[in-house]
């Protein structure tokens, strides 16, 4: 009896994940729930616990490989107890969708998630509650992994080069995999996030027809069907978004997917495989991968401009984008090209609120166990102002402004792997202390790498505080599809003119610049200014319960 470990569903919007590290090797004996590998998605990083006890028969996915939800990662030869339990499962229920059995497999398929767990064949990542349809028991590994492995070892094809020594080698091998474009298992060139081009990217006839009629690159369409499958509904929704201008049509920078051979793109994709491993450019002849910009890339919206061709120099370091970095980059470009940002700046006198903080910080720390910072106070001021200016708590969807009822405040946080924006849900119902606790809870989850996709989803407005030192002020890029973002500047003591008993005087005050970027498609200057002014005034008045 074999158990197949599959890429789990780690959040509603997550369609794929990258195996960053195997924690076990073939032949290892594993216990149920023992971590098998680390998975990275665009939203979260997590460990996959073993669905049962047994011996690792095969590791299907390679480190660095990006696979859709439901794709097989490994096969565990289950030990006796699990087998018995599985055989005892009732026969009656029809196999749920997505459960694939080999003809000779035990006829028993667990009908309910609970039984599946008992049978030792739960999905790979139970804590994330994957849908039962993804649970599966299989007896044979898929041939796909073998294809992927042999592809990566195959001769380099177009990008062929003598085997490069040194650290350039890894990139060259990966470049070969992409350039050779094997039919199954390997990365689809140009697919965003490198969706595997194998069995999990088959499309139904209607999806293919619609894509052909409208020239849609299906590798760009997010799938909501079983295992991330792209359904008719998905492609129609994508088409709507495309026509509404919410999505950028594919350009040459992603052209490889639509059949345009583009060395730079192939190279960029190839580099995704050895993710996170910086490569020196000391071996420029080591294949396309070492020269990310060898061929100029046409930028969206700037067809005439070509960035200069990159000439490798000894000592240069090529740092391939990680998956998250790629997504951040795409999001930033999307936001800047789709929503005209207006920046507006307010000066905030924090003297009173900092005094309030100083008065309460010791008691707060004693009570809550973490330090009271300005951030929850700024968050509280933002939420209070958003309640008064509902239109700032909104999303742009197609040709509509959707004013969100609930205030879900995103707080940008710096992490080792890049920026993350966890979301405080229903922030309108929280006090300053409640907001502080939420921020602390989310911060800890990030530190412990336990943040989930759902923690990061659903924001309606964002507050960012990119460090206090050397940051007088700056304007953030809007977190789409929201309509505004507040950015805190450096807190500094400055001489300012104040009025004392009707007389002007110069005083030393604790000051901060607070910058608002807003989407001028939907927010006019008067509203943007009034909102920012209101946040600043609330913060200055310092009328907070602590």
């Amino acid at each position: 009896m074999s158990i197949e470990v599959m890429m789990p569903q780690m959040g509603e919007s997550v369609v794929e994940g990258t195996v960053t590290k195997w924690l076990v090797k073939e032949g290892d004996r594993v216990q149920e729930d023992q971590p098998l590998c680390e998975i990275s998605t665009d939203k979260v990083d997590t460990e996959i616990p073993s669905p049962g006890a047994g011996v690792i028969a095969k590791l299907i996915a390679a480190e660095g490989e990006t696979l859709p939800v439901g794709a097989p990662l490994a096969v565990i030869e289950a030990s006796g107890a699990a087998t018995g339990a599985a055989s005892a499962a009732p026969v009656a229920a029809a196999a749920p969708a997505g459960v694939r059995t080999q003809p000779k497999a035990a006829p028993a398929l667990p009908p309910a998630p609970g039984k599946a767990t008992a049978a030792g064949a739960p999905p790979a990542a139970r804590p994330q509650q994957p849908p039962p349809t993804l649970r599966a028991v299989r007896t044979e590994p898929r041939p796909q992994a073998a294809a992927a492995q042999s592809a990566s070892q195959a001769p380099a094809g177009g990008a062929s080069a003598p085997s490069a020594g040194g650290s350039g080698g890894a990139a060259a091998t990966a470049g070969s995999a992409a350039a050779a474009a094997p039919p199954r298992g390997a990365q689809a060139p140009g697919a965003p996030g490198g969706v595997a081009a194998g069995a999990h990217r088959r499309y139904s006839p209607v999806v293919i027809r619609i894509a052909e009629e409208h020239g849609i690159d299906l590798t760009r369409v997010p799938g909501t069907g079983i295992g991330g499958r792209v359904s008719k509904r998905d492609v129609l929704a994508y088409l709507d978004a495309l026509q509404a201008g919410q999505i950028q049509p594919p350009t040459a920078s992603s052209g490889a997917a639509s059949g345009v051979t583009n060395g730079a793109t192939n190279a960029a994709n190839a580099q995704e495989a050895p993710q996170g491993a910086p490569v020196t450019a000391a071996q420029p002849s080591a294949g396309g991968a070492a020269r990310p910009s060898a061929v100029p890339v046409v930028l969206p919206g700037a067809p005439g401009y070509r960035p200069p061709v990159y000439e490798p120099r000894e000592g240069d370091i090529v740092e391939p984008f990680t998956r998250r970095r790629k997504l951040i980059a795409e999001h930033m470009v999307y936001s800047k090209t789709h929503s005209p940002h207006v920046g507006t700046l307010a000066e905030v006198d924090l003297t009173r609120v900092m005094r309030l903080r100083d008065q309460h910080k010791d008691a707060f720390f004693a009570r809550e166990g973490f330090a009271l910072t300005l951030l929850p106070l700024a968050a509280a001021a933002t939420v209070r102002a958003l309640k008064e200016f509902r239109r700032m708590n909104a999303s742009v969807v197609g040709d509509s402004l959707i004013v969100r009822h609930q205030i879900n405040l995103g707080i940008a946080m710096d992490t080792e792997e890049g920026l993350l924006v966890p979301v405080i849900k229903a922030a309108e119902g929280l006090s300053v202390v409640g907001l502080a606790r939420e921020i602390e809870r989310l911060r800890r989850k990030i530190a412990e790498k336990k943040i989930t996709a759902d923690d990061l989803a659903g924001g309606s407005f964002t507050l960012t505080n990119p460090g206090r030192e050397g940051n007088l002020f700056g304007f953030a890029i809007i977190n789409q599809p929201q309509v505004g973002i507040l950015r805190m500047g450096e807190i500094k003591k400055r001489p300012v003119v104040v009025e004392v008993d009707g007389e002007d005087a110069i005083a030393i005050r604790t000051m901060m610049y607070l910058a608002l970027s807003y989407d001028h498609r939907v927010i006019d200057g008067v509203l943007g200014n009034r909102f920012l002014y209101r946040v600043a005034r609330i913060l200055e008045e310092g009328d907070f319960e602590l």
Binding site: A92, A94, P96, A97, T133, S204, P205, V206, V207, I208, R209, G225, I226, R229, S231, K232, R233
Partner: protein, 326 residues
């Protein structure tokens, strides 16, 4: 006035016999007993024993005599007491009745109706639960209908009586007293051929007929309420010839098709419907064409086993959810 499925058939017989003196009824226990299910009740009193004829227990005889009468211009309505025993008359139906017009170059016709009470779910076990329609839907020269509602039961029977070809009329025993409907006064017919869209939908097409039609409608209502799914329910009504346009229209509309029938899976009409869709609407499909049907075994006498073997509302709901999620 609310009329049961059974009463609708009875009304159609009364009305057609009154309308046309050539119409007569023949079968086992159709006269004095009024039929094993009371479908022919009252006919003997109304029309006499020349037109309501009790026969020996021989389906081959009933059909054979009916064919002779039909050739000579009568319009016999023949009853197989249980559709399960229609196979006793198989040769008379497929080799004689169905070929008559062809053999005579269109110069002869065989306007008979063969009523076959069929279907399971009534704990009738393997000889009183069959759905034999698929034996006949591949025979040119026959027409096959399977009404699901009292309106269709009455209207299709009238059309069958008036049709100049042999029509096999499958009436589902479970529906006899379980479905009721207000029927319009006066004469009306339901044409043989067109399917009926029972429920308009968007997410998925559920193609069905006969007794399963009601389970399909229930299932569609459940998933609409619980899952927000809009299921389109197409009632085939006529199984030969199939309404290809209606089948293809709904398949093209939703892109996902589930076929449900009480007949067994293998060789059931669902396979033919699936083939039509795969052949002519392939470019519109967004998922596999799925079928819910009886298991490929005999209908068990044990009620839990019978339940296990037959399709039901829950099984259809499950299949809808699976396909919708695909």
């Amino acid at each position: 006035m609310e009329v049961t499925y059974l009463k609708a058939i009875n009304q159609a017989l009364h009305e057609e016999m009154r309308r046309d003196d050539n119409v007569f009824v023949m079968g086992e226990d159709v006269g004095e007993l009024g039929g094993a299910f009371k479908v022919t009740e009252g006919l003997l009193d109304a029309f006499g024993e020349d037109r309501v004829i009790d026969t020996p227990i021989s389906e081959a005889l009933i059909v054979g005599a009916g064919i002779g009468a039909a050739i000579l211009g009568m319009r016999p309505v023949l009853e197989m007491q249980f559709g399960d025993f229609i196979s006793c008359a198989f040769d008379q139906i497929v080799n004689t009745a169905a070929t008559l017009r062809y053999r005579h170059g269109g110069m002869a016709s065989c306007p008979l109706v063969l009523r076959a009470p069929s279907g399971a779910g009534v704990h009738g076990a393997l000889f009183h639960s069959q759905n034999p329609e698929a034996w006949f839907t591949r025979v040119p020269g026959l027409k096959v209908v399977a009404p699901a509602t009292p309106y269709d039961a009455k209207g299709l029977l009238k059309s069958a009586v008036r049709d100049d070809n042999p029509v096999i009329y499958f009436e589902h025993k479970r529906l006899y007293r379980s479905v009721k409907e207000d029927l319009p006064e006066g004469d009306f017919t339901v044409p043989i051929g067109p399917a009926e869209l029972r429920l308009e939908g968007r997410d998925l097409s559920l193609i069905t007929y006969g007794g399963t039609m009601h389970q399909a409608l229930d299932a569609a209502r459940i998933v609409e309420k619980e899952d927000g799914l809009k299921v389109e329910v197409l009632d085939l009504r006529t199984l030969l010839p199939l309404d290809r346009e209606a089948i293809l229209a709904t398949a093209r509309k939703t892109g996902k098709v589930l076929i449900a029938h009480e007949d067994r899976l293998t060789g059931g009409i669902g396979g033919e419907v699936a083939a039509i869709i795969a052949e002519h609407a392939f470019d519109f499909l967004d998922g596999p064409i799925k079928r819910v049907a009886a298991l490929d075994t005999h209908t068990a006498f044990s009620p839990p086993l019978e339940e296990y073997i037959l399709p039901n509302t829950n099984k259809i709901v499950e299949a809808i959810r699976e396909l919708a999620a695909y």
